[in-house]
């Protein structure tokens, strides 16, 4: 027994528990899915026959191409939205910067599938916008026609990923980089091409690959827009219509996972060794200039146009939730509270379930994430990196795959006492949400832990506090901002998660909000209440996000008044 291994028993036991959890609820289901994909459905032998079948079926070929097309086009369209905004904020002294920054949190507040139906009503062939265009100009634009609709909805929701990453990359370029290039004779486009562009590229690629990944894996949006010839919807439909023994669902899952890994790998390669932290002490970002009168007008026009686009799902959803009948008209015929009344009468169960599931999942996430962060960064356990790797690995696993894996793995496992398969018990939904959101919480907790200097812990131990006392009195309180941020992010995203949930909900009474919205949106008469439920979801997530933001800001001010002042000066 030495001083290092002393006090390691607790972490070790904890690491074993965490490892088992990840093994049972992440590794085993995914491995099972992969295994089934490579297994002959009749003989059980290992084979590639399922993949051959997949690529010989024209529907699957089409789905495969469509998924790639939609993901790639969404990246293109998102870039078109994000590039001017990132450029304005980093190059000009522009009053609209605050608006642009707020755009960054919009996707967190509403997942794309919630707004999809509202977007169809606003931009569809007979939607408000096309009715107006037709009336004024005599033609219509197929915004929402087929795959266009998916691309449009996804881009509007996910372009902030590119915006945030690119803006961060641009504002991390120190002014001295630009000035030394100018000093050596570069200017204008040449300066941009040789200095600014290469330095900002990793940020852009990271954001773009994230968009690709999100769109490629998304199940809810195509389902709600009734687009079935894409990979994720096909996987879902095969499993729900043919059953969990059909190998095609598994083959698609493997392809989804492979593509996710590819996207993540691309982003990893883009960022590897290019951690250009070029900002020097006292330096700022690239030099900014003031806008001339007409330039300012043009900038505001672009920003407001994009803002309107981004808010259109919210606006449409609000109109839908208050409207009586909305069809072949620019606005609903009349407004009413009836949909909200319906929701509160019949659908409180969805809301309660969501608060319960997302709350529990987020709680599990922050507890596990704090423990994993501590184990990985503060102990010497030999396999600690694997724990980190497994927990972060959940990022690469699409919700559909988790859902299919759980159904396959836990259908045969009867939970004692309640005597029901684990795969159909509501707790499995919580577990799925927790696993899927763990990477977000972990990232927040690791960032928070890295802010805590080890000397602060050693000081406590030196004054007589044991490891566990130190964790309780020093580490966790100092991490609290990050832990809370992790909780809120996990909670907010889990409360509107659909892709894994939709496969695991076994009875209406166990269903959460996202599932309820999906159910309502299936019928024309359910759209009103569905939209009302969507608005409630947006409000819940919005309030949570706002509160965490406030809390974190206040904690920061409390602790470092001088630093805050100097940083602001």
């Amino acid at each position: 027994m030495n001083a290092l291994s002393r006090g390691q028993f607790g972490p070790r036991a904890l690491a074993v528990v965490l490892g088992l959890f990840l093994l049972i609820f992440l590794v085993v289901p995914v491995v099972k899915v992969v295994f089934v994909a490579f297994q002959d459905p009749n003989t059980g032998a290992l084979t590639l026959i399922n993949f051959v079948d997949f690529f010989n079926t024209s529907l699957f070929q089409e789905s495969f191409v469509n998924s790639f097309y939609v993901a790639a086009m969404s990246v293109v369209l998102s870039s078109i939205f994000a590039l001017p905004l990132a450029y304005f904020t980093t190059r000009f002294n522009f009053g609209g910067t605050v608006i642009i920054q707020t755009l960054g949190i919009v996707p967190l507040i509403m997942p794309p599938f919630v707004g999809a139906v509202a977007m169809a009503l606003l931009f569809g062939g007979n939607g408000s916008v096309n009715l107006l265009i037709d009336e004024w100009f005599g033609f219509t634009i197929p915004f929402m026609e087929g795959l266009n609709g998916v691309i449009f909805v996804e881009s509007v929701h996910y372009f902030p990923f590119i915006l945030i990453n690119l803006s961060a990359a641009l504002s991390n370029i120190d002014r001295s980089m630009e000035e030394s290039a100018q000093n050596l004779g570069a200017s204008g486009l040449r300066l941009f091409r040789r200095i600014v562009f290469p330095l900002a590229m990793p940020g852009y690629v990271a954001g773009a690959s994230l968009v690709f990944l999100k769109v490629f894996d998304d199940l809810g949006t195509p389902l709600l827009l009734n687009i079935n010839n894409m990979l994720a919807p096909q996987a879902y439909l095969r499993i729900t219509s043919i059953g969990i023994s059909d190998p095609m669902g598994y083959v698609i899952s493997v392809i989804l996972v492979a593509c996710s890994l590819l996207a993540l790998w691309t982003s990893f390669l883009a960022l590897k060794g290019k951690d250009y932290a070029t900002v020097q002490k006292g330096g700022g970002g690239l030099s900014k200039r003031d806008l001339r009168g007409w330039e300012k007008t043009a900038c505001y026009a672009v920003v407001i146009f994009i803002l309107l686009l981004v808010l259109s799902p919210h606006i449409g959803l609000a109109l839908l939730s208050f409207g009586t009948v909305w069809s072949y008209s620019v606005l609903p015929d009349a407004f009413t509270w009836a949909h909200y009344a319906t929701v509160f009468d019949t659908s409180m169960g969805y809301i309660n379930n969501t608060l319960l599931y997302a709350g529990l999942a987020a709680l599990i996430d922050v507890i596990f994430a704090t423990a994993i962060a501590y184990i990985v960064w503060r102990t010497q356990l030999s396999w600690r990196k694997w724990l980190d790797f497994a927990a972060m690995g959940a990022v690469a696993i699409p919700g559909v795959v988790i859902g299919i894996g759980y159904l396959r793995t836990f259908y045969d496992f009867n939970v004692p006492v309640i005597d029901k398969p684990l795969a159909t018990w509501w707790v499995i939904i919580v577990v799925a949400l927790a696993i899927r959101r763990l990477p977000y919480a972990l990232r927040a907790c690791v960032a928070a832990l890295q802010q805590v200097s080890e000397a602060l812990e050693e000081a406590a131990e030196n004054l007589g506090a044991t490891k566990s006392r130190t964790v309780r009195r020093i580490v966790v309180p100092l991490m609290s901002g990050g832990i809370l941020a992790g909780f809120i992010t996990s909670f907010a995203t889990a409360s509107v998660e659909l892709s894994a949930t939709i496969m695991l909900v076994s009875s209406e009474s166990d269903a959460p909000l996202a599932y309820g919205i999906y159910e309502f949106m299936q019928s024309a008469s359910g759209r009103g209440p569905g939209a009302a439920l969507g608005i409630i979801a947006v409000i819940i997530v919005g309030i949570a996000t706002y509160l965490s933001h406030r809390f974190i800001e206040r904690r920061r001010e409390e602790r470092t008044p001088e630093i805050a002042v100097t940083a602001g000066a």
Binding site: A3, S453, A460, A465
Partner: protein
């Protein structure tokens, strides 16, 4: 803060410690005895292992592969940090930003389950001792660097540790404050009679504050002694050049009739006291800049000195003195000349004579 601190002071014994970070050896067979109540300094360049040695006493860092650490008569080698009762003041203070000053100082007492009333009294006393009682309810971020340093000291001494360890506590302060804090720490240590170990890479700091010090380099102890003894009687080149400026000249010992002489290949000859070295022994002579006098080449020889002829190649004005570099044969010697306004200067390329006080030359084995 105890009534009879001197009676309670304990020493530290480090017995043949060898320790490595992974494959990199950091401390090699280090043995040291620190007396009760002593102000002891570990002095060395960065990477010499001085902080590692200090943290070892506190129980942090890797476990030594051999050796023992004793505090008083108690062996602590295998004890966890929280079982040792040694107070460590960190280089960047490590004050907890989520607690007030009072809470920071009370922490150790709370961990020791001291009654609340006593905690309050002792925290007040400790804060009073460092002159910060009126800032008790502030947060550390609202204090200046020097004040944070005092809080860190108060937090450590309030638990009445057996040993006080200071890990480069002054390195984050500006020059004037450093001198002031150095005195405060010294006075506090005298008042408490607490055995104190101080780590620094700054030889001036070490000289002014220590009773004794150990010079470390590359994980081994080079020499232990009082600051003056180490300066005057260094045992090797490293100690000689780390403590102050030194001219180190390589040569051999030669004997003619009964006289021993230190001789270099380019003709410098210095008579030395005959003793420990064999004829032909490879030696190095240590000449401190202030033990050389500089004059014009026409000036007569001084009594009891060795005269060397050379040329000025560099001159620096350091305020209280002028520092000349003079080329003598193949050597360049640094010579200090006390500065007074109006005093004649030697310019570059001036031919000069150096007068070396024989008694001040120290000859070491190479």
């Amino acid at each position: 803060m105890s009534q009879h601190p001197e009676a309670r002071a304990v020493g530290v014994t480090i017995d043949d410690i060898t320790l490595s970070f992974g494959p990199t050896p950091v401390l090699k067979n280090v043995s040291l005895v620190i007396e009760p109540g002593e102000f002891f300094t570990f002095l060395g360049p960065s990477g010499s292992g001085k902080s590692t040695l200090l943290r070892l006493i506190a129980g942090f860092g890797p476990v030594p592969s051999t050796g023992r650490v004793l505090i008083g008569d108690r062996e602590v080698t295998q004890l966890a940090p929280w079982e040792r009762n040694v107070g460590l003041v960190f280089q960047n203070y490590a004050l907890w930003p989520h607690m007030t000053v009072r809470k920071n100082v009370a922490f150790g007492l709370e961990e020791r389950k001291t009654p609340p009333q006593e905690i309050r009294e002792r925290v007040d006393a400790a804060l009073d001792l460092v002159g910060l009682l009126k800032f008790a309810d502030r947060r550390p971020s609202q204090l200046s660097g020097g004040q944070q340093q005092r809080v860190a000291l108060a937090r450590t001494i309030v638990v009445e540790p057996q040993i006080l360890l200071l890990d480069e506590p002054l390195s984050n302060l500006d020059a004037n404050l450093r001198v002031q804090m150095r005195r405060e720490i010294h006075d506090l240590q005298r008042k408490l009679g607490l055995t104190t170990i101080f780590v620094t890479h700054d030889q001036e700091e070490a000289n002014t504050i220590s009773d004794r010090m150990a010079v470390l380099n590359a994980g081994t102890i080079q020499q232990v002694g009082s600051p003056m003894a180490l300066y005057d009687e260094p045992v090797n080149r490293f100690v000689a050049s780390f403590l102050g400026t030194a001219n180190l000249v390589n040569g051999t010992l030669e004997r003619s009739s009964d006289k021993a002489q230190f001789c270099t290949t380019d003709g410098i000859r210095i008579p030395v006291v005959d003793g420990e070295f064999q004829t032909g022994a490879e030696l190095v002579a240590l000449l401190r800049p202030q033990c050389l006098a500089i004059s014009t080449s026409e000036a007569p020889a001084f009594e009891g000195t060795v005269r060397l002829e050379g040329k000025v190649v560099h001159r620096e004005f350091l305020g209280s003195l002028l520092r000349y570099s003079v080329s003598v044969g193949e050597h360049v010697l640094v010579v200090d000349d006390a500065h007074q306004s109006g005093h004649a200067l030697f310019d570059l390329d001036n031919s000069v004579s150096l007068h070396l006080d024989r008694d001040q030359v120290r000859v070491l084995a190479r």
